[in-house]
């Protein structure tokens, strides 16, 4: 077959592939938006679910989602940043580092149900914390850890060498260099990574069902339980009775994740000095 004909066919295929991907994304988003937009009223956002089939609003689920992912973010950030500092600044290529990286990759690809059962076995039952924001946040932080570690490490590595040299040249110790020169320079990227990881945590379902339960509740302390938006959507969908509320929840969930994604991108663009 003529090579130009093959080329044209192949190009067509590639265009179709990319087009299909975008089309499916568009279809899913459009479907949720079209069906959910009617449902999103201030009442929906700010009132409680009531009645037989969760008519009413979704306020406690919104709070639960934000609470647990915020808590997870607080827990994971210091550990992940310091871990990345180690990998980027101190680590020597060797068995230890390989083990750490393998472990991080493994955590990143854990099936969420396994993480959920793990959270159930360790935090809820063995440690006795029970179904709570805390148990769920701890499980979520294990999920977020490899993501934040990787993005922070990349952020640190992308800081130009001359910044470090300047600090050393002035007689700074390693820690002073890292904490006062390198990390501040890497902050925009680090923050972006954290926001993206939190966006991922917002979408988790299996992990939180087994560590937080599903009772609708407005969490005040980390020991309270609650029902995040993902679980609410799942239950509404499986129940099949109150589909409008399901669409509304799905739309709000997508808006929240979109906000995280765009926020991260915007933050990065605004603060990029390097």
């Amino acid at each position: 077959m003529n090579k130009n004909l093959t080329n044209s066919l192949a190009m067509a295929f590639l265009w179709i592939a990319a087009g299909t991907t975008v089309a499916v994304l568009f279809a899913v988003i459009a479907y949720v938006v079209v069906n959910g937009i009617m449902v999103i009223t201030p009442e929906f956002i700010f009132t409680w679910p009531e009645g037989v089939n969760a008519e009413g609003g979704v306020w406690p689920t919104i709070v639960s989602t934000l609470y647990v992912t915020g808590l997870a973010m607080l827990i994971v950030t210091p550990i992940a940043i310091l871990a990345a500092v180690y990998l980027a600044e101190y680590a020597v290529q060797g068995r230890l580092v390989n083990i750490i990286r393998f472990a991080a990759d493994s955590l990143a690809s854990v099936p969420s149900i396994v993480m959920g059962l793990f959270g159930l076995a360790l935090f809820v039952e063995t440690m006795g914390i029970g179904f709570s924001m805390l148990s769920a946040a701890l499980a979520l932080s294990f999920l977020m850890l490899p993501i934040v570690m990787r993005t922070t490490e990349e952020a640190i590595r992308s800081v130009p060498k001359y910044i470090r040299w300047g600090a050393y040249g002035l007689g700074a110790s390693k820690w002073q260099t890292v904490s006062r020169s390198v990390l501040p320079a890497a902050t925009p990227r680090i923050v972006t990574g954290i926001i993206l990881a939190t966006g991922r945590a917002v979408g988790e379902t299996a992990v939180v069902i087994y560590t937080m339960g599903q009772a609708i509740n407005l969490p005040l302390t980390p020991f309270d339980s609650g029902r995040p938006m993902t679980v609410h959507l799942y239950l509404l969908a499986m129940d099949g009775i109150n589909l409008p509320a399901a669409y509304g929840t799905a739309l709000l969930l997508m808006i929240m994740i979109l906000a995280f994604n765009l926020g991260a991108r915007y933050f990065l663009r605004r603060n990029r000095k390097v």
């Binding site: 037989v52 063995t126 440690m127 006795g128 029970g130 509740n217 129940d239 099949g240």
Partner: protein
């Protein structure tokens, strides 16, 4: 050298963490005195929830936490003490009889056999229902209907509705294992409403005009036929408590048994008040 030292340090810290964890088991299981935990059947869940809210409206210092994980879960949690009231849409199994649970029925319910509205079949015998759900019949044409594959829709094993159907309609012969297993009444209904050959079973209270309810042995499922016992597939809905109900549990149960609730939300939900069948 320094790497080996680091490794030793890390192994030690790992060991330390692992020994500390089991010791840290603090018990957060205590419940507040004014909190009532009600768990169990998804069929009873709507009533339990609304009643719980109305109850709290009348007595604002109390809180009723309702969740629905299935009748089996309800019975287990109440016998273990993790909940105050276990709701179930089935009777106790033999092995559960010795758990010492006290039974307060709250309503009657019929289990309707539903098919797609376009299905021409209107009536089946109880035996035919059994043979459909155990997989003997695979095509509607075998029963005088259209040439369409029978799509079995089953409930999950935690479901009291399933258990009741198993006992009464299946007479304990096993379900066809290739049936789809769905975890919610609403889902069974939406699937049957959209698939031509589908057949499933849901509580009468959830039947709407998206699906068609079949009469069994010539009897249609309705509130009357449930109470006078002519509809073959019906059951009681139960509140189980560890012994006679006392305190907050008793107040709540009495509230649900009150006329206001029985003639209100119980009927709204499609069930038949317990008082209607006093002499059953």
């Amino acid at each position: 050298m320094s790497e080996r030292r680091s490794v030793i340090l890390m192994v030690l810290s790992l060991v330390l963490t692992l020994t500390v964890i089991p010791l840290s088991g603090c018990n957060a299981g205590a419940r507040a005195a004014n909190e009532l935990v009600v768990t169990g059947s998804t069929t009873i869940l709507p009533i339990a929830e609304i009643a719980g809210e109305m109850f709290t409206d009348d007595n604002p210092e109390n809180k009723v936490l309702v969740s629905g994980l299935g009748s089996s879960a309800g019975i287990e949690t109440v016998s273990r003490g993790s909940s105050d009231i276990g709701t179930a849409s089935r009777d106790l199994k033999e092995e559960e009889m010795e758990l010492g649970l006290y039974d307060t029925p709250l309503a009657y319910d019929a289990i309707a056999v539903i098919v797609h509205p376009s299905n021409p079949i209107d009536d089946l015998t109880k035996e035919q229902v059994r043979l459909i759900f155990n997989g003997t019949y695979t095509n509607w044409s075998e029963l005088g209907g259209n040439d369409v594959r029978i799509g079995l829709v089953n409930r999950d094993e935690a479901s009291g509705t399933r258990e009741a159907f198993y006992k009464i309609a299946m007479e304990k012969s096993p379900f066809d294992r290739t049936a789809a297993v769905l975890p919610g009444t609403g889902q069974v209904r939406s699937v049957v409403a959209q698939a031509e050959g589908a057949v499933g079973y849901i509580s009468l209270g959830f039947v709407n005009n998206e699906v068609k309810s079949i009469s069994v042995d010539g009897i249609e499922a309705s509130a009357e036929t449930v109470v006078d016992g002519t509809y073959p597939i019906s059951r009681l809905l139960h509140f189980f408590t560890p012994g006679e109900p006392t305190g907050l549990a008793k107040e709540y149960i009495d509230f649900v048994l009150s006329d206001e609730i029985q003639n209100g939300i119980v009927i709204d939900a499609g069930f038949t008040p317990i008082s209607a069948g006093e002499d059953r």
